[in-house]
């Protein structure tokens, strides 16, 4: 039991459990973001401030960072072992009929990581520690809406954001069903359903997250 999580399968279990947790987080994050275009700035601010200040959410936030940290560390650990397992490669390789996105998990992961760091510095850190760089508060609420709209009014930012979201989507195309396979959940009837659910989930993330900056860029007035 002592090395349950350090064997090849054990490490992958950590990856899949953390990954599924992060997948849930992505949906929660998306649902809050979408308030900006579905409702109004105020509703978005109320939700964003709730997420930032609620005690229970703060605990979940620690778990989230821990999950993300483990997902990254274990991912790198597994990848290095995988690279080392074939010191001499093939001269000719032929792509067999395998899931396309599964071959580029580490590459998509690197882009997602860079994006996360930038994203984190842009919103999370500023709202927490550099309040002077944030728009003024409205009625005691941090004005996250204006901070977001200011960013999404910059075309280069919108383009980079959407490209990163697509890459995140590619990562998810494979990882959702892969996580279930790693957890040993394989079934004649349920596995095809899980695979379809994984594709739908990835599409929701791609379309949902891409739509928000597009709607803001094209339809929102410039903040005063």
């Amino acid at each position: 039991m002592s090395n349950f999580f350090t064997t090849s399968i054990g490490k992958k279990l950590v990856m899949s459990l953390c990954g599924l947790f992060l997948a849930v987080f992505l949906l929660v994050h998306l649902s809050i973001n979408s308030l900006l275009i579905i409702c109004d700035n105020h509703t978005f601010n109320v939700a964003a401030n709730f997420m930032a200040k609620n005690k229970l959410i703060k605990v979940v936030e620690i778990v989230l960072f821990l999950g993300l940290f483990l997902h990254i560390i274990y991912g790198i650990w597994l990848q290095i072992q995988n690279w080392m397992s074939r010191p001499v490669g093939y001269v000719k390789t032929n792509h067999s009929q395998t899931s396309f996105f599964s071959k580029y998990m580490i590459h998509t992961a690197i882009v997602i990581f860079i994006f996360l760091v930038l994203h984190f510095m842009d919103f999370f850190l500023k709202a927490k520690f550099f309040k002077d760089q944030m728009p003024p508060e409205i009625g005691g609420l941090e004005d996250m809406a204006t901070a977001v709209i200011l960013k999404f009014k910059m075309l280069p930012y919108v383009i980079i954001y959407i490209v990163c979201i697509f890459i995140l989507g590619f990562h998810l195309f494979h990882s959702f069903q892969s996580a279930f396979q790693t957890l040993g959940l394989d079934h004649k009837i349920y596995t095809p359903i899980i695979k379809t659910a994984g594709v739908i989930y990835a599409l929701i993330i791609i379309i949902g997250y891409s739509l928000i900056p597009l709607v803001v860029y094209f339809t929102f007035p410039n903040p005063a």
């Binding site: 399968i9 397992s85 074939r86 000719k92 067999s96 599964s102 396979q181 040993g184």
Partner: protein
């Protein structure tokens, strides 16, 4: 048929090795791939050159000795076949065929196209067996086994240990091989008794031997000459989780 062969030549395990290009005329489409290599070797011997070393034994697709990486695919372009069951009619006149040995840290090259697959034997030694008194075969109906379990076990047991799964996996992972052995035995009452010990020992050994980690790409299943399913890998994961959480040692 006239072919251009690009073959990996390596004197011994320590030598550097390189590709040699050969022109081969007079190949019949009726030849098996190994017969084509025999024919090529006869020519090399007559020319006074070293023949190309390659592994083979049964030449009927059951021993798993003959693995070659042909034009970027283990066992070549045919589906569900070992190299010895591949025929030259699958190629065209004038083709260039690139032939490489299995590439994996766990399968070092011994000579030319022959690799050392002892790692797979070590995996079996680690736990891929049942402890039972030997003797004459027991009465078949004394232990009832549900048909669907017997079928699943049979599919897993079709694995001939050729190593194509390791060869094709981008991580050189042996998960399909281990999954096949673990599943084959765990599905049957005789193998259930040692199931948890077996899976823990085999996974430990697999890591020790330097195979990579499975990333569920499914390449192994696609290239397995015996179509062993990756649902066996899911079963291996299940067996591992249950064993890890419940095993007493």
């Amino acid at each position: 048929m006239k072919l251009t062969l690009k073959i990996w030549r390596q004197e011994n395990a320590k030598a550097k090795g390189k590709f040699e290009t050969y022109q081969l005329d007079g190949v019949s489409p009726e030849m098996s791939f190994l017969e084509m290599l025999d024919y090529h070797n006869e020519k090399l011997i007559l020319e006074g050159t070293n023949p190309v070393a390659f592994d083979n034994d049964c030449r009927e697709g059951i021993c798993g000795m003959c693995g070659l990486y042909i034009n970027g695919r283990p066992h070549g372009p045919d589906e569900d076949n070992t190299t010895c069951q591949l025929h030259m009619r699958k190629f065209n006149d004038g083709d260039t065929i690139v032939i490489e040995p299995w590439r994996s840290k766990a399968f070092p090259v011994i000579k030319d196209l022959i690799v050392d697959r002892t790692a797979l034997d070590k995996l079996i030694i680690a736990g891929g067996y049942i402890s039972a008194d030997t003797g004459s075969a027991p009465e078949a109906n004394s232990i009832p086994i549900p048909k669907h379990k017997a079928d699943l076990s049979f599919n897993a047991n079709e694995c001939v240990g050729c190593g194509a799964c390791v060869a094709v996996c981008k991580n050189a992972s042996a998960m399909l091989f281990v999954a096949a052995k673990v599943s084959h035995l765990a599905l049957l009452p005789q193998g259930k008794i040692e199931a948890s010990e077996r899976v823990l020992k085999m996974v430990k050994e697999m890591d020790k031997l330097g195979f990579g980690n499975c990333s569920n790409t499914g390449a192994c299943e696609a290239e397995c000459p015996k179509s062993v399913s990756i649902s066996n890998i899911a079963r291996l994961n299940r067996e591992y989780i249950c064993a890890g959480l419940t095993h007493e040692n």
